[in-house]
C-alpha cells in the first residue's frame, strides 16, 4: 500500500476492484466502514460476483473477469474528457509534460513499436523520452551500457524535453489521451459486459472528488490478487496508478494505490526477496553480464532524468550504499574492498526462475529436489496436476508443515493407483514446523508496518521453529563443504553466521542484523551526528558504499536502532487524528505512513487540504515538517522544484513508463485473458498479451470456445477459511463444511440444476467436482454481443482435511483447473478468468 489500513478512514471515495476486502480482510475493512460512517465516503465495487464487499457498497458493477484494464481505461478517458484532474499536480508531479521519442507507436493494432514476433519480445528503444536537442541520434545516450552485452539496454536521457502547455503531439499527456480515447463507453461495454450507463455512472462517481480540478477531496483505490492474477496483471495495477496520478490522489491521506496483501507477512516476504529477480530491499538480482560489482552497480543505479530546470532526488542513486551494506551483512569480514565485497558470491540469474517455471523445470527433469516451507506447493500453483506429476519425477522433497498436506502427500493424489504409487521414487521428508502463535518475530502488514509479535505458546512435541530447522540444515551443509569441499564453497563457508545460538538464531538478533549497524564510525556531514562502530544505525541515510556499514535490508534500516526495537512499540496515540500512529510499530521507509507525501502539498508546499495536514514546508525552519515523516529531501525548498516521486529518476510519477520497466508497454492496453470467449474487440488480430508466457509441456493445454469451453471461471477465497490450513480445524469446517461452485441462477435453470446437486467443471487441463451453489449474485452478462456466464470456485479444499478425510469431497484441488499463463512482469499466473465447461454429475 502507498498508504495504510488506518488511512482508509480518511478517504472520501473508494474504488474497490480486484479485491474483496470484506471477505478476505474483514479486520482491515473496519476502516472502510469508518470512512463511510464518518465522512460519508462512497464505495464503488467492481467484481465478477456480487461479493460480501459489494453488499455494503454504494454501487456494484459486475465485470467480466480479466477485463479490468478496459474499465479503468474508460475511467481515464472519462476523467480526461470531463476535466476531472488537477492541472498543477499533473504538470508538476507526473511526466505528463515529458516528450516521448519519435518512433514510439501506440498499440492501435495491439502492438507497441519494436515488437519482434519470433522472439515474442519488444525492443524498447523507442519507449523513451526525447532528449533536449536530440534529433535523429537520440540513441547515443546509451553511454552507460553494460559493455559485455551485445545490444546495450536503453537508458533514460539526463535532460528530458518537455512542454508545460501539454500541447506537443508527442508529450505524454497527448499520447495518454490518444491511447484511451479508444476506450469509449461502447467499447468498454463490449469488453467488460458492464452496461455503458452503469460504467459512466461509476466513473462519474469516482472522479467526482476532482470536480473541475478541485483538490480538497481524496479517493483511494483498493485492490488485491483479483488484479494481479491475470496475464496482464501488472498493467492493471499500472492503470490504477495512472488514474491516481491523474486525479492527484497519490501521496494524500485517504488516497493512494492500495494493495491488500493476502497473508499476514506477504509484504515481508516480498521485501526480503521472496521473488527470484530481486535481492532484499528490491535491489536487482545480478545477471551473468555483471562480471564485477562496478558493472552491476552501473547497470542498476539509475541516473536522474528530468527537465533541466527541475530537481530530482533520485533516491535509487544510493544503490551502491545499499548493495555494499547488504554484502557486508551477508558475508561479514570476508567481504572486503579488495574482493569487490564478495559480489561474485551472489547467485546470478541467467533466465527466469519464477514459480511456474520452477515446476515446469521439475516436470522436465531439470529440478531434482524441492524444499517447501510455509506453502502448500501442490495446491497454490496453476495447473496443479502437473505439479503432482513433477514431484513424482523429483529425487526428494522436504516439507515443513504443521498438518499433513497435499504437497507432502502428493503421491496419494486422487486417481493414483497402488501400482502407480509403487513406481514413485521420490523420498519425502516431513519436518514438524511451528504454527504462527508458537513463534515470535515480525509480520509486515499491507501498510508496510513491521510489527513484532510474541509467541503465545511453545511448539508442541518435536516441533521446531523455522529458523532452527533452517539453521541446522545450513550448518550441516556447511560442515559437508568444510570436509569435502565443493564447486564454489565460499558463499557457504564464509556466510556471516554470528548468532549467539548458531543452531537456533534468535529472531531479535536477525531483526537487528536486518536493520544494520556501523562497522566503523560513520558521520552524517549534514547533521554532524556520528554513529560509533558496532552501534545500530538510526536510518538508511547512514548506509555507506565503502564497507563501513552493514544492513540486511536497507528498507528496514531504522527499525531496530540504539533506541531499541521500533517494531515492538505499542503506543496507539494519534495526535493529528489522521491515523498516523507514529509510535505504533514501525513502517518502512523510515516510519513514513503515507508514501510520496510531498504530493499532499501544492507546489509551494502547502497541504492541498488544510483539514488533512500530513506534511508542509516550514519557511521559518527552511525544512519540511509534518504529522507524518516527510517522504522527501528534508531541506529541499519548493522553489527548487524537486519531484515528489523520489524513487523515480524523473522525480515525478509515471503516466508513461519508459524503457520497459513494465515489459508489455509504456501504457496499459486491454488484452484478452489467455483463454477467452471473444476476440479482442480493440484488435482481434492481436487478442492476447503478446508477451505473456505460456508453457509448452504436454500437460500445459489451453482451451478455446471451439472446444466447448464456454463458461468463464474464476477462483477465490472465503472469510471462513484460511487457504489450505483451516480445513483441518473443526471450527472453520463448521462454518463452511464443503467445497462448492457458485453458479448463476439463470444458468442453473437452463441446466435444470438445483443447489446442492453435484456439478463437474472441466477445463482443458482437468476436472473438478463439487456441489452447486445456485445464486442470484452472479448474473448473466452480454460480452461483445454474446450472452456470457461466469462461475466461481473457492479454493480451500484438497485431499487432506476434515471433510476430505471423511469422504465428503471429490478431493481434487481447484487449481487442477487453472492455466499456467503468466504475467510478463510479476510472473503471476492467471488464476482468474479462464475457460471451463459445466455439466451435472
Amino acid at each position: 500500500m502507498t498508504n495504510g489500513w488506518v488511512d482508509i478512514k480518511n478517504t472520501d471515495m473508494m474504488l474497490i476492484m480486484g479485491g474483496n476486502p470484506a471477505e478476505n480482510h474483514p479486520c482491515g475493512f473496519k476502516w472502510v466502514i469508518e470512512a463511510k460512517r464518518n465522512r460519508d465516503a462512497k464505495i464503488v465495487v467492481v467484481d465478477p460476483r456480487f461479493t460480501r464487499t459489494a453488499s455494503v457498497a454504494d454501487q456494484f458493477l459486475q465485470i467480466r473477469a480479466g477485463s479490468d484494464i478496459a474499465f479503468l481505461g474508460g475511467l481515464i478517458n472519462y476523467a480526461l474528457a470531463n476535466n476531472r484532474f488537477n492541472h498543477e499536480y499533473l504538470v508538476n508531479y507526473t511526466n505528463a509534460a515529458f516528450i516521448v521519442k519519435e518512433g514510439f507507436k501506440l498499440p492501435e493494432d495491439g502492438l507497441y513499436s519494436g515488437y519482434d514476433a519470433t522472439a515474442r519480445t519488444y525492443d524498447k528503444s523507442t519507449w523513451n523520452y526525447e532528449e533536449v536537442g536530440a534529433g535523429a541520434h537520440a540513441s547515443d545516450t546509451h553511454s552507460h551500457a553494460v559493455q559485455s552485452s551485445p545490444v546495450p539496454p536503453p537508458t533514460l536521457p539526463p535532460n528530458v524535453a518537455y512542454d508545460l502547455s501539454l500541447q506537443h503531439p508527442r508529450c505524454v499527456f497527448q499520447l495518454l489521451k490518444q491511447q484511451y480515447s479508444r476506450y469509449t463507453p461502447e467499447m468498454v461495454e463490449r469488453i467488460t459486459g458492464i452496461p455503458r450507463e452503469r460504467a459512466i455512472k461509476a466513473w462519474e462517481t469516482f472522479t467526482s472528488i476532482r470536480q473541475n480540478g478541485d483538490m480538497k477531496k481524496a479517493g483511494t483505490i483498493i485492490y488485491a490478487v483479483g488484479w494481479t492474477q491475470h496475464s496482464s496483471g501488472t498493467q492493471t495495477i499500472r492503470t490504477a496508478a495512472m488514474i491516481q496520478l491523474l486525479l492527484g490522489n497519490v501521496g494524500r491521506a485517504g488516497g493512494g494505490v492500495n494493495a491488500l496483501r493476502g497473508h499476514s507477512n506477504i509484504q515481508g516476504a516480498t521485501d526480503m526477496a521472496g521473488i527470484f529477480d530481486i535481492l532484499p530491499g528490491y535491489l536487482k538480482m545480478p545477471v551473468p553480464a555483471d562480471t564485477d560489482l562496478k558493472t552491476y552497480l552501473t547497470r542498476t543505479t539509475p541516473k536522474a532524468s528530468k527537465p533541466k530546470e527541475w530537481d530530482s532526488f533520485n533516491y535509487w542513486s544510493n544503490t551502491p550504499a545499499f548493495t555494499v551494506s547488504l554484502l557486508k551483512a551477508l558475508y561479514g569480514d570476508a567481504a572486503t574492498k579488495e574482493n569487490d565485497f564478495a559480489f561474485n558470491w551472489l547467485p546470478k540469474i541467467d533466465r527466469k526462475y519464477s514459480w511456474a517455471e520452477i515446476w515446469d523445470d521439475m516436470y522436465n527433469g531439470k529440478v531434482k529436489a524441492m524444499m517447501a516451507f510455509g506453502m502448500n506447493g501442490v495446491m497454490i500453483g496453476p495447473n496443479a496436476k502437473k505439479n503432482i506429476e513433477a514431484l513424482k519425477k523429483a529425487d526428494f522433497l522436504v516439507v515443513c508443515e504443521i498438518y499433513p498436506d497435499e504437497t507432502s502427500e502428493f503421491w496419494r493424489a486422487p486417481g493414483t493407483t497402488p501400482e502407480e504409487m509403487a513406481k514413485i521414487n521420490t523420498t519425502v521428508y516431513r519436518l514438524p514446523g511451528a504454527g504462527f502463535a508458537e513463534k515470535d518475530g515480525t509480520f509486515v502488514n499491507s501498510a508496510r508496518w513491521l510489527q513484532w509479535k510474541w509467541a503465545a505458546v511453545p511448539p508442541p512435541g518435536d516441533c521446531r521453529l523455522d529458523q532452527e530447522i533452517l539453521a541446522r540444515i545450513f550448518l550441516k551443509i556447511r560442515g559437508k563443504y568444510q570436509q569435502e569441499g565443493g564447486k564454489l564453497p565460499d558463499p557457504i563457508l564464509k556466510a556471516s553466521w554470528n548468532y549467539t545460538n548458531p543452531n537456533n538464531p534468535s529472531l531479535a538478533e536477525v531483526a537487528k542484523e536486518l536493520n544494520g549497524k556501523a562497522l566503523a564510525d560513520v558521520t552524517d556531514p549534514k547533521t554532524n551526528t556520528t554513529i560509533k562502530a558496532d552501534q545500530q544505525l538510526p536510518g538508511f541515510a547512514f548506509l555507506r558504499d565503502d564497507g563501513s556499514t552493514m544492513s540486511g535490508n536497507w528498507l528496514y534500516c531504522g527499525s531496530w536502532t540504539e533506541a531499541g526495537a521500533m517494531i515492538q512499540r505499542r503506543d496507539p496515540a494519534d495526535p493529528s487524528g489522521l491515523g498516523i500512529h507514529a509510535n505504533w510499530a514501525w513502517s518502512w521507509p523510515m516510519n513514513r505512513r503515507v508514501m510520496y507525501n510531498r504530493a499532499s502539498c501544492d507546489l509551494n508546499g502547502k497541504p492541498w487540504d488544510p483539514d488533512r495536514k500530513q506534511i508542509w514546508w516550514s519557511e521559518a525552519k527552511q525544512k519540511w515538517a509534518g504529522n507524518d515523516v516527510p517522504d522527501f529531501k528534508p531541506d529541499s525548498d519548493p522553489k527548487s522544484h524537486m519531484g515528489p516521486f523520489i524513487m523515480n529518476p524523473e522525480g515525478v510519477g509515471r503516466l508513461f513508463v519508459p524503457i520497459g520497466a513494465v515489459a508489455d508497454g509504456p501504457f496499459p492496453e486491454h488484452y484478452e485473458p489467455t483463454e477467452s470467449l471473444i476476440a479482442n474487440p480493440l484488435h482481434p488480430s492481436q487478442s492476447n498479451n503478446p508477451i505473456a508466457k505460456r508453457f509448452k509441456s504436454d500437460m500445459d493445454k489451453y482451451g478455446t470456445p471451439d472446444q466447448g469451453y464456454n463458461i468463464i471461471c474464476t477462483t477465490y477465497r472465503l472469510t471462513e477459511h484460511y487457504h489450505y490450513w483451516t480445513k483441518n480445524n473443526p471450527m472453520n469446517v463448521q462454518l463452511v463444511p464443503e467445497p462448492f461452485v457458485e453458479i448463476p441462477a439463470e444458468l442453473a435453470d437452463q441446466m435444470g440444476l438445483r443447489g446442492g446437486e453435484k456439478v463437474k467443471v472441466t477445463s482443458a487441463r482437468a476436472d473438478y467436482i463439487a456441489k452447486a451453489m445456485v445464486t442470484k449474485r452472479i448474473k448473466p452478462m452480454m460480452v461483445d454481443g454474446k450472452k456470457t456466464y461466469q462461475i466461481g470456485i473457492p479454493i480451500h479444499w484438497g485431499y487432506r482435511g476434515i471433510a476430505e478425510d471423511a469422504g465428503k469431497t471429490a478431493k481434487t484441488p481447484a487449481n487442477y483447473l487453472s492455466p499456467a499463463a503468466i504475467d510478463p512482469n510479476a510472473y503471476t499466473p492467471e488464476f482468474k478468468g479462464f475457460l471451463v465447461k459445466l455439466e451435472r454429475v
Binding site: I33, K36, R52, A772
Partner: protein, 304 residues
C-alpha cells in the same frame, strides 16, 4: 457496572408474588445495536459466541448458502442470516442479519414459561434462561415471536443467547460485540444505542438513498434490548423473517394476564418434583452446561 447493579431481577417466570428487590434500582437498560447496513457477514460474532460459551461443535452440511446453518441451534445461539433479495425496483441486495435473542421488554418466552425461575428478566433488559430450573416443556419456544429458544433432546432443556449476562455483569461487552471487526455492532445503554441508530438512519436516508431506512425496536412487545438498523424498515421480513409486528401469541397473553396465578398453582402441583428456587437472593451465572460430547445427533442442515 458491577454485577449487583446490572443484573437486577425484574420479572420471574411462573413465580407468585412480587419480585424481591424490584424497583430498587434505576439503572439504565442495556442494548445491543446491530447495524445490518455495515455488517459484512464475516461470522466473527458466530465464532466468538461459540467460543465464549464453550459450545460443542455442530456438524453442518452444505445448503446452497453462505449461512452456517438454517436456524440457530441449542448450541449455536448467534447466526448470520444471508438473504439474496431482488427488490421491486429491480435492485439487488445481499442482506446479512445477525439473528439471536432480541431480549424483548415484554418477553413471550417468559410469559409462556410455567417453571419458576427458568426465565428471568433483569432490570437491565437481559432475558436469561436458568437451565437448572427449566423443565423442558418448551412453552417458551411457542411463546417467542422470533423463534429463538432451542430445545436440546439430550439435556431436555432449552437454550438461547444470554446477551453474555456473565460478561455484562462484570462490566464487559458481549462477546459478539468484542469480536465484530467492522464496528457494525455496538453495545451501551438503550437510549445511547437508539441515538446512534437514529444518526445512522438519517445518514442512510440522506447520503445513501435508502428512503425507507429505519430502526427496528418493535413496540408491539414493548421494544427490545437488541435493536437493528435496516436499509428498509418497511419490510423487515426480507432480512430472513424478521417479523414486522412481533406479538406474543394470544394464548400466552391471556395466560399471563388472567390465568397465570391459577395455572401456576396447577403447574406447581403437577411438577411437584421441581425444586422451587428463589432468585431473590441475587443474580447467578446463567451459563448453560452443555454435555461434554456431541450427543445430539441432529444435523444442522439437510441436503438438497
Amino acid at each position: 457496572m458491577s454485577d449487583r447493579k446490572t443484573l437486577q431481577v425484574q420479572r420471574i417466570s411462573g413465580h407468585p408474588g412480587p419480585v424481591a428487590g424490584a424497583g430498587m434500582q434505576r439503572e439504565e437498560q442495556v442494548c445491543k445495536l446491530i447495524d445490518t447496513t455495515t455488517c459484512i457477514g464475516c461470522k466473527a460474532c458466530e465464532v466468538a459466541c461459540v467460543e465464549w460459551n464453550d459450545m460443542p461443535f455442530q456438524p453442518t452440511m452444505f445448503d446452497n448458502t453462505y449461512q452456517t446453518m438454517p436456524d440457530t441451534h441449542w448450541n449455536y445461539w448467534n447466526l448470520i442470516k444471508f438473504n439474496e433479495v431482488t427488490n421491486e425496483d429491480g435492485t439487488f441486495q445481499w442482506l446479512m442479519r445477525k439473528h439471536q435473542c432480541m431480549h424483548c421488554a415484554d418477553p413471550g418466552c417468559l410469559a409462556a414459561c410455567p417453571a419458576d425461575g427458568a426465565i428471568v428478566q433483569y432490570r437491565n433488559g437481559i432475558v436469561d434462561f436458568q437451565e437448572e430450573n427449566c423443565i423442558g416443556c418448551q412453552f417458551c419456544v411457542s411463546g417467542c415471536p422470533f423463534n429463538v429458544p432451542k430445545f436440546s433432546p439430550t439435556t431436555k432443556k432449552v437454550y438461547k443467547c444470554t446477551l453474555c449476562s456473565d460478561r455484562v455483569g462484570q462490566g464487559l461487552e458481549p462477546a459478539c460485540i468484542k469480536a465484530c471487526p467492522t464496528g457494525c455492532l455496538h453495545f451501551g445503554t438503550k437510549s445511547d444505542m437508539l441515538m446512534l441508530a437514529e444518526k445512522r438512519v438519517k445518514q442512510l436516508q440522506t447520503v445513501s438513498g435508502f428512503k425507507e431506512a429505519g430502526t427496528y425496536d418493535p413496540q408491539t412487545i414493548g421494544g427490545t434490548s437488541v435493536v437493528y438498523v435496516l436499509h428498509d424498515a418497511s419490510n423487515p421480513e426480507k432480512y430472513g423473517g424478521l417479523p414486522k409486528n412481533p406479538r406474543i401469541p394470544l394464548s400466552f397473553t391471556i395466560w399471563k394476564n388472567w390465568f397465570k396465578p391459577i395455572g401456576l398453582i396447577a403447574s406447581m402441583m403437577a411438577f411437584a418434583g421441581v425444586i422451587l428456587h428463589y432468585v431473590t437472593e441475587g443474580p447467578r451465572r446463567p451459563q448453560p452446561q452443555p454435555p461434554v460430547k456431541e450427543v445430539d445427533g441432529g444435523e444442522g442442515k439437510k441436503e438438497n
